[in-house]
Amino acid sequence: MSDRPSYIREFMRGILRDNPIFCLILGLCPTLAVTTSLENGLGMGIAVIFVLTGSNLIISILRWQIPAIVRIPSFIVVIATFVTVVDMTMAAFLPPLHRALGIYIPLITVNCIVLGRAEAYASRNPPALSVVDGLGIGMGFTLALVLIGSIRELLGTGMISFMGSTLLQINIEPAMLMILPPGAFFIIGLLMGLSNLIRNRKGG
C-alpha cells in the first residue's frame, strides 16, 4: 500500500473510476446549480478540493480518537471548519466569485462527496493516502464541473470567458436553455451517458 505507484493509482481513481459526478453520482446539487460558466465551476471545484483534502487529512489523523457512535457529528465539525475558512477567504479575496456561488459555498458542509469520503475512506486509511484520495476525488469533481460549465457557457452565451478575457468564441445563436437549470440536467445526462458508453465499450 505504501509504494509510490499506489499513490498515483489512488489519485487517478478519483478522476476516472470513482469520478464523483459521472460514476459515483454524488454532489449533484452544486453541480446543477453553479455550472453556468467555466469560472464558477472552477471556483466551486477548487473550494471542494481544499475542503475535501483538509477534512480527509484531519479525520484520518483522528480516526482512532473519534468514537464510532459520534463520528458523523465529528466529521461535520471538521468539514464545517474548512468550509468556514474557504467561505471567509473567498469573501475577502474573490468577492465576485463569492457572490456568484452564494449559498453553495456554505452548503459544501453537507456535500455528500465530502462526507462520503470521510466515512468511506479517511476514517479507514492512513493520512497520506487520505490526502491523495481527497486530491484525486476533488480533482475529478473539479474537472467534471469545468467540463459541464464550459459546455453550458459556450452554448448558452456563445463564448467562454475567464478572468475577464474571452478564451473561445463561436458564432452561434446562444441557446438560453443551456444557462437555465434544465440545461444542466441535459448536459450532465448526456455526459454521463457518454462516459457509460465509453466504459461499456472498454469493459465489453
Binding site: A175, L177, L180, G189, L190
Partner: protein
C-alpha cells in the same frame, strides 16, 4: 367450432405499431397538405428538415450507438411531422433540425426507444427549442404551420377515432374540462377552434405510449390537461399552454397507471 388455447396476451385485432404509425401519418397528411398549400416553400423546407432529421437521427443512433438493426416502425416520421407543425413559418432551418435531433435522441432514444419514452418526443423537441431560442419560437404575428382551418385536422382526428388508433376518452375529457373551467372562470375559450389546440388534443395528448393504459386513467389525464391548460392560460398564450400541460401530464402518467389499475377478472 374451434377452441384456441394459448398463453396471454390474447390478441385478436391485427392492430400493430406499424399500422398505428401509418394511421397517424395518413391522419396528418391533410393538415400537411393544406399547410403546404397555404405557406408554400418555407413550410415544405421545415417539414422536410424535421422528418429527415428525425429519421436520420434514429437511424444513426441505432447504427452507431446501439449497433443493432431495429425494424423501423416509422414513428420518427410522425414525430418529425408533429414538430414541424408546431413551428413558425419563418424559422431558420437549423431550428427544425436541432428540434428533431433533440426530440429523437433525448426525447425518445435516451429512454429506450419507441414504447419506453415518458414524454411525447415532438413536445420534448418543441420545449427545448422554446426555452433555448424563445425569439424564434414565439414570433408574434407570424403563423405556425398548424394555423390552418381546424376542420382539416378534425378530419384526420375523426379517421384516427374511427380506426380506433386513438381513444376518445382523452380528447373528450380534455375538451369538456377546458370549456367547463373557462366558463366557470369567465375566460375566453375560443382557442379550442384553433389548429394548434386541436393538434394537441387529438394528436399529441392521445399518444398511446405516453398516456395512461386504463379508461379511468385516460379520463384523469384528459381532465388534468384541461385544468392545466386553463390555469396556464391565465398567464401564457394558448400555444404554450397546450404543449406544457400535455408534457406535465406525461410525467405523471406512470403514477396514474400505478394507482388506477384495470379491474382484475378474478378477485383474489
Amino acid at each position: 367450432m374451434s377452441i384456441i388455447v394459448s398463453a396471454p396476451p390474447h390478441i385478436k385485432k391485427d392492430t400493430c405499431t406499424k399500422k398505428m404509425v401509418c394511421g397517424m401519418i395518413i391522419a396528418l397528411l391533410p393538415a400537411v397538405a393544406v399547410s403546404l398549400y397555404l405557406f408554400g416553400p418555407p413550410a415544405m423546407a421545415i417539414i422536410l428538415t424535421c422528418v429527415l432529421a428525425a429519421v436520420g437521427t434514429e437511424g444513426a443512433i441505432q447504427k452507431f450507438i446501439l449497433k443493432k438493426a431495429i425494424p423501423t416502425d416509422g414513428s420518427a416520421i410522425v414525430t418529425g411531422l408533429l414538430l414541424a407543425l408546431l413551428l413558425h413559418v419563418n424559422v431558420p432551418l437549423w431550428i427544425p433540425f436541432i428540434g428533431a435531433v433533440v426530440a429523437i435522441a433525448i426525447g425518445k432514444q435516451a429512454f429506450g426507444g419507441y414504447g419506453s419514452n415518458i414524454f411525447n418526443p415532438a413536445l420534448v423537441g418543441w420545449a427545448v427549442l422554446t426555452m433555448a431560442w424563445p425569439s424564434h419560437m414565439a414570433s408574434a404575428g407570424v403563423a405556425r404551420l398548424v394555423d390552418i382551418p381546424p376542420f382539416v385536422l378534425l378530419v384526420g382526428a375523426a379517421f384516427l377515432l374511427y380506426m380506433g388508433y386513438i381513444k376518445w376518452q382523452i380528447p373528450a375529457s380534455y375538451l369538456i374540462s377546458v370549456v367547463f373551467l373557462s366558463a366557470l372562470l369567465a375566460r375566453d375559450a375560443s382557442y379550442i377552434f384553433i389548429g394548434g389546440f386541436i393538434l394537441g388534443v387529438f394528436f399529441m395528448a392521445t399518444d398511446p405510449v405516453t398516456t395512461p393504459l386504463t379508461k379511468k386513467g385516460r379520463f384523469i389525464f384528459g381532465i388534468g390537461c384541461g385544468i392545466l391548460t386553463v390555469i396556464y392560460g391565465l398567464y401564457g398564450n394558448y400555444a404554450e399552454d397546450v404543449c406544457y400541460s400535455i408534457l406535465l401530464m406525461n410525467s405523471i402518467t406512470p403514477l396514474i397507471d400505478r394507482f388506477v389499475r384495470a379491474k382484475p377478472f378474478v378477485e383474489g
